[in-house]
Protein backbone atom coordinates (compact mmCIF):
# COMPACT_ATOMS: atom_id res chain seq x y z
CA UNK A 1 0.00 0.00 0.00
CA UNK A 2 1.32 3.37 -0.96
CA UNK A 3 0.74 6.59 0.93
CA UNK A 4 1.03 10.07 -0.29
CA UNK A 5 1.22 13.18 1.81
CA UNK A 6 -2.56 13.57 2.03
CA UNK A 7 -2.91 10.16 3.60
CA UNK A 8 -0.66 10.87 6.53
CA UNK A 9 -2.81 11.23 9.64
CA UNK A 10 -1.70 14.72 10.47
CA UNK A 11 -3.89 15.45 13.43
CA UNK A 12 -2.57 12.47 15.29
CA UNK A 13 1.00 13.63 14.95
CA UNK A 14 0.60 16.41 17.46
CA UNK A 15 -0.36 13.92 20.11
CA UNK A 16 2.01 11.14 19.35
CA UNK A 17 3.13 9.87 22.74
CA UNK A 18 6.45 8.65 21.41
CA UNK A 19 7.46 12.15 20.46
CA UNK A 20 5.99 14.24 23.22
CA UNK A 21 6.32 11.79 26.05
CA UNK A 22 9.44 12.31 28.10
CA UNK A 23 10.22 12.89 31.71
CA UNK A 24 10.05 16.64 32.01
CA UNK A 25 13.11 18.26 33.51
CA UNK A 26 12.86 20.15 36.77
CA UNK A 27 11.93 23.80 36.51
CA UNK A 28 15.41 25.37 36.92
CA UNK A 29 16.82 23.00 34.34
CA UNK A 30 13.88 23.72 32.14
CA UNK A 31 14.42 27.49 32.49
CA UNK A 32 18.09 27.19 31.62
CA UNK A 33 17.28 25.00 28.66
CA UNK A 34 14.65 27.39 27.46
CA UNK A 35 17.02 30.35 27.71
CA UNK A 36 19.73 28.50 25.86
CA UNK A 37 17.30 27.49 23.14
CA UNK A 38 16.24 31.07 22.68
CA UNK A 39 19.81 32.31 22.67
CA UNK A 40 20.74 29.87 19.96
CA UNK A 41 17.95 31.01 17.74
CA UNK A 42 18.77 34.65 18.20
CA UNK A 43 22.04 34.18 16.38
CA UNK A 44 20.50 32.99 13.15
CA UNK A 45 19.12 36.05 11.39
CA UNK A 46 16.56 35.45 8.75
CA UNK A 47 16.68 31.72 9.01
CA UNK A 48 13.40 29.94 8.44
CA UNK A 49 14.73 27.10 10.55
CA UNK A 50 13.48 24.39 8.22
CA UNK A 51 15.27 21.77 10.26
CA UNK A 52 13.22 22.52 13.31
CA UNK A 53 11.12 19.90 14.93
CA UNK A 54 7.91 19.32 13.13
CA UNK A 55 5.15 21.71 13.88
CA UNK A 56 7.19 23.47 16.54
CA UNK A 57 6.67 20.57 18.87
CA UNK A 58 8.67 20.16 22.02
CA UNK A 59 11.68 17.95 21.42
CA UNK A 60 11.51 14.59 23.11
CA UNK A 61 15.12 15.02 24.04
CA UNK A 62 17.74 17.68 23.51
CA UNK A 63 20.64 15.28 23.89
CA UNK A 64 22.82 14.60 20.87
CA UNK A 65 22.36 11.39 18.95
CA UNK A 66 25.53 9.73 17.72
CA UNK A 67 26.12 7.65 14.67
CA UNK A 68 26.29 4.04 15.75
CA UNK A 69 29.20 1.72 15.20
CA UNK A 70 29.32 -1.92 14.21
CA UNK A 71 27.69 -3.75 11.33
CA UNK A 72 24.18 -3.55 12.79
CA UNK A 73 24.25 0.25 12.81
CA UNK A 74 26.45 0.63 9.75
CA UNK A 75 25.08 -2.01 7.38
CA UNK A 76 26.58 -2.45 3.94
CA UNK A 77 24.76 -1.71 0.69
CA UNK A 78 23.78 -5.33 0.08
CA UNK A 79 24.21 -7.61 -2.88
CA UNK A 80 21.41 -6.19 -5.00
CA UNK A 81 18.54 -8.69 -4.97
CA UNK A 82 16.21 -8.42 -7.93
CA UNK A 83 12.76 -7.37 -6.74
CA UNK A 84 11.56 -6.68 -10.24
CA UNK A 85 13.07 -3.26 -10.79
CA UNK A 86 15.45 -3.00 -13.72
CA UNK A 87 19.18 -2.57 -13.19
CA UNK A 88 20.51 -0.76 -16.23
CA UNK A 89 24.09 -0.16 -17.33
CA UNK A 90 25.40 3.17 -16.09
CA UNK A 91 26.04 5.92 -18.59
CA UNK A 92 22.76 6.37 -20.39
CA UNK A 93 20.71 9.53 -20.43
CA UNK A 94 18.84 8.44 -17.33
CA UNK A 95 22.12 8.55 -15.38
CA UNK A 96 22.45 12.24 -15.96
CA UNK A 97 22.26 14.20 -12.75
CA UNK A 98 19.33 12.88 -10.78
CA UNK A 99 16.48 15.32 -10.39
CA UNK A 100 14.44 13.58 -7.69
CA UNK A 101 15.51 12.61 -4.23
CA UNK A 102 14.19 11.56 -0.84
CA UNK A 103 16.00 11.82 2.48
CA UNK A 104 15.73 8.86 4.83
CA UNK A 105 16.90 8.87 8.43
CA UNK A 106 17.01 5.66 10.44
CA UNK A 107 17.38 5.38 14.20
CA UNK A 108 17.72 2.30 16.36
CA UNK A 109 18.31 2.24 20.10
CA UNK A 110 18.88 6.00 20.01
CA UNK A 111 21.69 5.67 17.53
CA UNK A 112 21.88 6.87 13.97
CA UNK A 113 21.86 4.03 11.48
CA UNK A 114 23.86 4.76 8.35
CA UNK A 115 22.06 4.33 5.05
CA UNK A 116 25.07 3.31 2.99
CA UNK A 117 26.19 4.37 -0.46
CA UNK A 118 25.75 1.74 -3.14
CA UNK A 119 22.19 0.55 -2.55
CA UNK A 120 20.69 -0.19 -5.95
CA UNK A 121 24.07 -0.23 -7.67
CA UNK A 122 25.32 -3.55 -8.95
CA UNK A 123 28.66 -4.90 -7.78
CA UNK A 124 31.48 -4.54 -8.46
CA UNK A 125 31.02 -0.97 -7.28
CA UNK A 126 33.59 1.75 -7.82
CA UNK A 127 34.07 3.82 -4.67
CA UNK A 128 35.79 7.11 -3.93
CA UNK A 129 36.02 7.81 -0.23
CA UNK A 130 32.48 7.81 1.11
CA UNK A 131 30.92 7.86 -2.36
CA UNK A 132 30.04 5.23 -4.93
CA UNK A 133 31.01 6.51 -8.37
CA UNK A 134 30.02 3.56 -10.51
CA UNK A 135 29.19 -0.10 -10.77
CA UNK A 136 27.91 -2.82 -13.03
CA UNK A 137 24.46 -1.26 -13.28
CA UNK A 138 22.13 1.12 -11.47
CA UNK A 139 18.50 0.79 -10.45
CA UNK A 140 15.87 3.53 -10.59
CA UNK A 141 16.28 4.01 -6.83
CA UNK A 142 19.77 4.03 -5.43
CA UNK A 143 22.24 5.68 -3.10
CA UNK A 144 25.60 7.09 -4.10
CA UNK A 145 26.52 8.63 -0.75
CA UNK A 146 26.00 7.54 2.86
CA UNK A 147 23.87 10.54 3.79
CA UNK A 148 20.41 9.00 3.56
CA UNK A 149 19.66 10.68 0.24
CA UNK A 150 17.81 8.22 -1.97
CA UNK A 151 18.07 9.12 -5.63
CA UNK A 152 15.16 8.40 -7.92
CA UNK A 153 15.04 8.31 -11.66
CA UNK A 154 12.24 10.76 -12.48
CA UNK A 155 8.94 8.97 -12.80
CA UNK A 156 9.87 6.11 -10.51
CA UNK A 157 7.04 4.91 -8.27
CA UNK A 158 8.53 3.17 -5.29
CA UNK A 159 8.06 2.81 -1.56
CA UNK A 160 10.28 2.51 1.48
CA UNK A 161 9.55 -1.21 1.30
CA UNK A 162 10.92 -1.31 -2.24
CA UNK A 163 14.09 0.41 -1.05
CA UNK A 164 14.63 -2.17 1.68
CA UNK A 165 13.97 -4.95 -0.82
CA UNK A 166 16.63 -3.53 -3.12
CA UNK A 167 18.89 -3.12 -0.11
CA UNK A 168 18.21 -6.71 0.96
CA UNK A 169 17.32 -5.70 4.52
CA UNK A 170 14.33 -6.32 6.73
CA UNK A 171 11.66 -3.75 7.44
CA UNK A 172 8.29 -4.26 9.05
CA UNK A 173 6.05 -2.72 11.64
CA UNK A 174 8.02 -4.54 14.33
CA UNK A 175 11.46 -4.80 12.76
CA UNK A 176 13.99 -2.38 11.33
CA UNK A 177 17.08 -4.11 9.98
CA UNK A 178 18.17 -6.44 12.80
CA UNK A 179 16.40 -4.43 15.51
CA UNK A 180 13.08 -5.64 16.85
CA UNK A 181 10.35 -3.56 18.44
CA UNK A 182 7.59 -1.21 17.38
CA UNK A 183 8.69 0.76 14.33
CA UNK A 184 7.47 4.34 13.96
CA UNK A 185 7.70 6.61 10.95
CA UNK A 186 7.42 10.32 10.23
CA UNK A 187 6.96 11.89 6.82
CA UNK A 188 7.89 15.56 6.51
CA UNK A 189 7.65 15.78 10.28
CA UNK A 190 4.22 14.18 10.56
CA UNK A 191 3.63 10.82 12.14
CA UNK A 192 2.65 8.21 9.58
CA UNK A 193 0.58 5.45 11.16
CA UNK A 194 0.27 3.25 8.10
CA UNK A 195 2.51 0.31 7.26
CA UNK A 196 6.02 1.71 7.28
CA UNK A 197 7.01 -0.19 4.15
CA UNK A 198 4.18 1.44 2.24
CA UNK A 199 5.41 5.00 2.55
CA UNK A 200 5.91 6.38 -0.94
CA UNK A 201 9.29 7.70 -1.98
CA UNK A 202 8.20 11.04 -3.40
CA UNK A 203 10.57 13.76 -4.50
CA UNK A 204 11.63 16.03 -1.67
CA UNK A 205 10.25 13.94 1.16
CA UNK A 206 11.97 13.71 4.52
CA UNK A 207 11.28 10.31 6.07
CA UNK A 208 12.35 9.25 9.56
CA UNK A 209 12.03 5.68 10.82
CA UNK A 210 12.66 4.88 14.45
CA UNK A 211 12.82 1.71 16.50
CA UNK A 212 13.53 2.07 20.19
CA UNK A 213 13.53 5.25 22.28
CA UNK A 214 12.27 8.45 20.65
CA UNK A 215 14.57 10.90 18.93
CA UNK A 216 14.04 14.42 17.59
CA UNK A 217 12.50 14.33 14.16
CA UNK A 218 13.53 16.66 11.37
CA UNK A 219 10.71 17.88 9.18
CA UNK A 220 12.67 18.92 6.11
CA UNK A 221 15.94 18.39 4.31
CA UNK A 222 17.78 20.93 2.16
CA UNK A 223 18.66 18.96 -0.94
CA UNK A 224 21.64 20.08 -3.04
CA UNK A 225 20.37 22.19 -5.94
CA UNK A 226 22.23 20.18 -8.55
CA UNK A 227 21.51 16.78 -7.03
CA UNK A 228 23.94 14.33 -5.54
CA UNK A 229 24.37 11.78 -8.30
CA UNK A 230 27.99 11.16 -9.03
CA UNK A 231 27.72 7.97 -11.04
CA UNK A 232 30.13 7.71 -13.91
CA UNK A 233 30.22 5.08 -16.64
Amino acid sequence: MTYDSTEVPRAAARHDPRVVRSSLPRLPTCLALALSLGACGAGVPGSPAPGALAGGRVPATAEPVSIGIGPRLRPGPGALPQPGLPCRPIGGARDERTREAVHLELFAQRRIVIVPAGIGIGAPRRTDGAFVRGGRCAMPLRTTEPTGVIELTPGTRATVGDLFAVWGRKLGDRQLLSFRGPVHAWVDGRRDRGPVGGIALLDGRQIVIVVGPPVPVHATYAFPPEGVSRLQP
Binding site: A49, L53, P59, P64, R74, F107, G129, A222
Partner: protein, 263 residues
Protein backbone atom coordinates in the same frame (compact mmCIF):
# COMPACT_ATOMS: atom_id res chain seq x y z
CA UNK B 1 2.10 22.28 42.32
CA UNK B 2 3.59 19.87 39.83
CA UNK B 3 1.02 20.66 37.17
CA UNK B 4 1.81 24.39 37.32
CA UNK B 5 5.51 23.64 37.08
CA UNK B 6 4.95 21.38 34.12
CA UNK B 7 2.84 24.03 32.45
CA UNK B 8 5.43 26.75 33.07
CA UNK B 9 8.13 24.50 31.73
CA UNK B 10 6.16 23.70 28.61
CA UNK B 11 5.44 27.36 27.98
CA UNK B 12 9.10 28.29 28.38
CA UNK B 13 10.25 25.52 26.11
CA UNK B 14 7.62 26.25 23.52
CA UNK B 15 8.47 29.94 23.54
CA UNK B 16 12.15 29.32 23.16
CA UNK B 17 11.58 26.75 20.45
CA UNK B 18 9.50 29.28 18.59
CA UNK B 19 12.23 31.88 19.04
CA UNK B 20 14.78 29.72 17.33
CA UNK B 21 15.18 26.08 16.62
CA UNK B 22 18.89 25.42 16.21
CA UNK B 23 19.25 23.65 19.53
CA UNK B 24 16.56 21.24 18.47
CA UNK B 25 18.79 20.02 15.67
CA UNK B 26 20.21 17.11 17.58
CA UNK B 27 20.02 14.13 15.33
CA UNK B 28 21.22 12.82 11.99
CA UNK B 29 20.52 14.87 8.94
CA UNK B 30 23.65 16.77 8.00
CA UNK B 31 25.54 15.02 5.21
CA UNK B 32 28.99 15.92 6.53
CA UNK B 33 28.65 13.67 9.57
CA UNK B 34 27.99 10.62 7.40
CA UNK B 35 30.67 11.41 4.85
CA UNK B 36 33.35 12.13 7.46
CA UNK B 37 33.09 8.57 8.74
CA UNK B 38 34.83 7.45 5.56
CA UNK B 39 37.03 10.37 4.60
CA UNK B 40 38.79 13.34 6.15
CA UNK B 41 37.10 16.20 4.33
CA UNK B 42 33.51 17.01 3.47
CA UNK B 43 33.48 19.16 0.35
CA UNK B 44 30.48 21.32 -0.59
CA UNK B 45 27.98 20.16 -3.17
CA UNK B 46 27.84 21.62 -6.66
CA UNK B 47 27.74 24.35 -7.77
CA UNK B 48 30.09 25.34 -4.94
CA UNK B 49 32.89 23.08 -6.06
CA UNK B 50 36.31 23.44 -4.49
CA UNK B 51 38.91 23.69 -7.29
CA UNK B 52 40.80 20.46 -7.87
CA UNK B 53 44.20 21.88 -6.98
CA UNK B 54 42.92 23.07 -3.62
CA UNK B 55 41.26 19.71 -2.94
CA UNK B 56 44.51 17.94 -3.71
CA UNK B 57 46.45 20.30 -1.46
CA UNK B 58 43.98 19.95 1.42
CA UNK B 59 43.86 16.16 1.19
CA UNK B 60 47.65 16.02 1.16
CA UNK B 61 47.97 18.39 4.08
CA UNK B 62 45.57 16.34 6.18
CA UNK B 63 47.42 13.17 5.26
CA UNK B 64 50.67 14.76 6.39
CA UNK B 65 49.08 15.91 9.64
CA UNK B 66 47.71 12.42 10.30
CA UNK B 67 51.15 10.95 9.68
CA UNK B 68 52.43 13.22 12.43
CA UNK B 69 49.71 12.11 14.82
CA UNK B 70 47.29 14.99 14.31
CA UNK B 71 44.27 13.39 12.66
CA UNK B 72 41.54 15.86 11.84
CA UNK B 73 38.10 15.86 10.25
CA UNK B 74 37.26 18.95 8.21
CA UNK B 75 33.86 20.06 6.91
CA UNK B 76 33.72 22.82 4.31
CA UNK B 77 30.21 24.26 4.21
CA UNK B 78 29.53 26.72 1.41
CA UNK B 79 25.74 26.83 1.46
CA UNK B 80 22.76 25.81 3.55
CA UNK B 81 22.19 22.95 1.14
CA UNK B 82 25.44 21.43 2.43
CA UNK B 83 23.78 21.07 5.84
CA UNK B 84 20.78 18.88 5.07
CA UNK B 85 18.39 19.05 8.00
CA UNK B 86 20.26 21.70 9.97
CA UNK B 87 20.59 24.69 7.61
CA UNK B 88 19.70 26.98 10.49
CA UNK B 89 23.24 26.50 11.80
CA UNK B 90 24.75 28.08 8.68
CA UNK B 91 25.62 31.24 10.56
CA UNK B 92 26.67 29.45 13.74
CA UNK B 93 29.96 27.65 13.00
CA UNK B 94 30.70 26.59 16.57
CA UNK B 95 27.20 25.25 17.17
CA UNK B 96 27.49 23.27 13.97
CA UNK B 97 30.93 22.00 15.04
CA UNK B 98 29.40 20.86 18.33
CA UNK B 99 26.62 19.01 16.55
CA UNK B 100 28.98 17.40 14.07
CA UNK B 101 31.36 16.33 16.82
CA UNK B 102 28.56 14.78 18.85
CA UNK B 103 27.35 12.84 15.82
CA UNK B 104 30.68 11.30 14.90
CA UNK B 105 32.16 10.99 18.39
CA UNK B 106 30.69 7.78 19.84
CA UNK B 107 32.94 7.54 22.90
CA UNK B 108 35.88 9.16 21.12
CA UNK B 109 37.14 12.73 20.93
CA UNK B 110 37.59 13.45 17.26
CA UNK B 111 39.33 16.62 16.19
CA UNK B 112 36.76 18.49 14.16
CA UNK B 113 37.18 21.71 12.18
CA UNK B 114 34.31 23.32 10.31
CA UNK B 115 34.78 26.18 7.88
CA UNK B 116 31.79 28.25 6.85
CA UNK B 117 31.57 31.64 5.16
CA UNK B 118 30.66 33.06 8.55
CA UNK B 119 33.76 31.68 10.26
CA UNK B 120 35.41 28.65 11.81
CA UNK B 121 34.41 26.29 14.56
CA UNK B 122 35.94 23.22 16.06
CA UNK B 123 36.38 20.79 18.90
CA UNK B 124 39.24 18.85 20.48
CA UNK B 125 41.77 20.83 18.46
CA UNK B 126 44.27 21.34 21.28
CA UNK B 127 44.79 23.80 24.11
CA UNK B 128 46.21 26.53 21.90
CA UNK B 129 43.64 26.21 19.16
CA UNK B 130 41.93 29.50 19.97
CA UNK B 131 45.11 31.51 19.63
CA UNK B 132 46.22 29.52 16.60
CA UNK B 133 43.00 30.09 14.71
CA UNK B 134 42.69 33.76 15.65
CA UNK B 135 44.49 35.14 12.60
CA UNK B 136 42.74 32.78 10.17
CA UNK B 137 40.05 34.57 8.22
CA UNK B 138 37.49 33.20 5.81
CA UNK B 139 36.95 35.33 2.73
CA UNK B 140 33.18 35.04 2.31
CA UNK B 141 33.40 36.46 -1.18
CA UNK B 142 35.79 33.81 -2.42
CA UNK B 143 33.27 30.98 -2.47
CA UNK B 144 34.29 27.39 -1.88
CA UNK B 145 37.89 28.17 -2.80
CA UNK B 146 38.01 30.65 0.06
CA UNK B 147 36.82 27.98 2.48
CA UNK B 148 39.53 25.61 1.33
CA UNK B 149 42.21 28.28 1.65
CA UNK B 150 41.08 29.08 5.17
CA UNK B 151 41.17 25.38 6.03
CA UNK B 152 44.73 25.07 4.72
CA UNK B 153 45.81 28.02 6.85
CA UNK B 154 43.94 26.71 9.88
CA UNK B 155 45.47 23.26 9.67
CA UNK B 156 48.91 24.78 9.33
CA UNK B 157 48.31 26.93 12.41
CA UNK B 158 46.80 24.10 14.45
CA UNK B 159 49.57 21.64 13.71
CA UNK B 160 52.16 24.31 14.46
CA UNK B 161 50.52 25.04 17.80
CA UNK B 162 50.40 21.34 18.53
CA UNK B 163 54.12 20.92 17.90
CA UNK B 164 53.58 18.80 14.80
CA UNK B 165 53.80 21.39 12.04
CA UNK B 166 52.83 20.62 8.48
CA UNK B 167 53.60 23.10 5.72
CA UNK B 168 50.93 25.40 4.39
CA UNK B 169 50.78 25.24 0.57
CA UNK B 170 51.30 28.45 -1.35
CA UNK B 171 47.76 28.08 -2.69
CA UNK B 172 46.46 28.97 0.74
CA UNK B 173 47.71 32.53 0.56
CA UNK B 174 46.27 33.35 -2.85
CA UNK B 175 43.54 35.90 -2.72
CA UNK B 176 41.39 34.73 -5.54
CA UNK B 177 37.73 34.91 -6.23
CA UNK B 178 35.35 32.06 -6.94
CA UNK B 179 36.53 30.05 -9.88
CA UNK B 180 40.21 30.67 -9.32
CA UNK B 181 42.51 27.72 -9.23
CA UNK B 182 41.22 25.93 -12.27
CA UNK B 183 37.93 24.76 -10.88
CA UNK B 184 34.37 25.87 -10.89
CA UNK B 185 33.94 28.06 -7.88
CA UNK B 186 30.34 28.71 -8.61
CA UNK B 187 30.71 32.49 -8.99
CA UNK B 188 30.42 34.74 -12.02
CA UNK B 189 32.68 33.93 -14.93
CA UNK B 190 36.00 35.84 -15.02
CA UNK B 191 35.16 36.58 -18.65
CA UNK B 192 32.07 38.39 -17.44
CA UNK B 193 33.82 40.14 -14.58
CA UNK B 194 36.75 41.46 -16.59
CA UNK B 195 35.43 41.31 -20.12
CA UNK B 196 32.30 43.39 -19.63
CA UNK B 197 34.06 46.61 -18.52
CA UNK B 198 36.56 46.28 -21.40
CA UNK B 199 33.69 45.83 -23.82
CA UNK B 200 31.91 48.91 -22.46
CA UNK B 201 35.06 51.03 -22.75
CA UNK B 202 35.58 49.82 -26.30
CA UNK B 203 31.99 50.67 -27.22
CA UNK B 204 32.25 54.18 -25.78
CA UNK B 205 35.57 54.78 -27.53
CA UNK B 206 34.21 53.43 -30.80
CA UNK B 207 31.16 55.66 -30.52
CA UNK B 208 33.33 58.72 -29.90
CA UNK B 209 35.51 57.96 -32.91
CA UNK B 210 32.47 57.45 -35.11
CA UNK B 211 30.93 60.70 -33.93
CA UNK B 212 34.13 62.63 -34.63
CA UNK B 213 34.34 61.16 -38.10
CA UNK B 214 30.75 62.13 -38.85
CA UNK B 215 31.34 65.62 -37.51
CA UNK B 216 34.33 65.92 -39.81
CA UNK B 217 32.20 64.71 -42.72
CA UNK B 218 29.50 67.26 -41.82
CA UNK B 219 32.09 70.03 -41.70
CA UNK B 220 33.43 68.95 -45.09
CA UNK B 221 29.89 69.00 -46.53
CA UNK B 222 29.36 72.45 -45.01
CA UNK B 223 32.54 73.63 -46.67
CA UNK B 224 31.22 72.22 -49.96
CA UNK B 225 27.93 74.16 -49.78
CA UNK B 226 26.04 72.37 -47.04
CA UNK B 227 22.70 70.64 -47.05
CA UNK B 228 19.19 71.59 -45.84
CA UNK B 229 19.77 69.68 -42.64
CA UNK B 230 22.79 71.80 -41.79
CA UNK B 231 21.08 75.15 -41.87
CA UNK B 232 20.86 75.30 -38.09
CA UNK B 233 24.57 75.63 -37.78
CA UNK B 234 27.29 73.62 -36.13
CA UNK B 235 26.73 74.62 -32.50
CA UNK B 236 23.03 73.85 -32.52
CA UNK B 237 23.77 70.61 -34.30
CA UNK B 238 26.22 69.68 -31.59
CA UNK B 239 23.64 70.48 -28.91
CA UNK B 240 21.03 68.48 -30.73
CA UNK B 241 23.57 65.72 -31.12
CA UNK B 242 24.00 65.54 -27.37
CA UNK B 243 20.23 65.64 -26.79
CA UNK B 244 19.50 62.84 -29.21
CA UNK B 245 22.33 60.80 -27.77
CA UNK B 246 20.89 61.01 -24.32
CA UNK B 247 17.49 60.04 -25.69
CA UNK B 248 18.99 56.97 -27.24
CA UNK B 249 18.33 57.98 -30.84
CA UNK B 250 20.59 57.68 -33.80
CA UNK B 251 22.35 61.06 -34.27
CA UNK B 252 23.21 60.19 -37.85
CA UNK B 253 19.49 60.14 -38.78
CA UNK B 254 18.87 63.49 -37.11
CA UNK B 255 21.73 65.18 -38.91
CA UNK B 256 20.86 64.15 -42.35
CA UNK B 257 23.21 61.21 -42.53
CA UNK B 258 22.48 58.23 -44.63
CA UNK B 259 19.12 56.63 -43.77
CA UNK B 260 19.05 53.15 -42.39
CA UNK B 261 17.05 51.98 -45.35
CA UNK B 262 17.82 53.85 -48.59
CA UNK B 263 14.65 52.47 -50.18
Amino acid sequence: MPSLRRLTCLVLLAASAAAGAPAAARADGDPASDVLLSQSVFYPYAPNKVPDDLQTALDAQLKAAKAKGYELKVALIAAQTDMGSVPQLFTAPQKYADLLTSEIAFNTKPRVLVVLPSGLGGNNLGGKAGDALGPVQVDPGAGAAGLARAALQAIGALTRANGTPVPVPALASQTGKPGDGGGDGGGPSPLLVFGLPVLLVALVAGGAILRDRRREEDEEQEDDGGSPADENGGEEAAAEDAATESAGQDPAREHGGPPADPQ
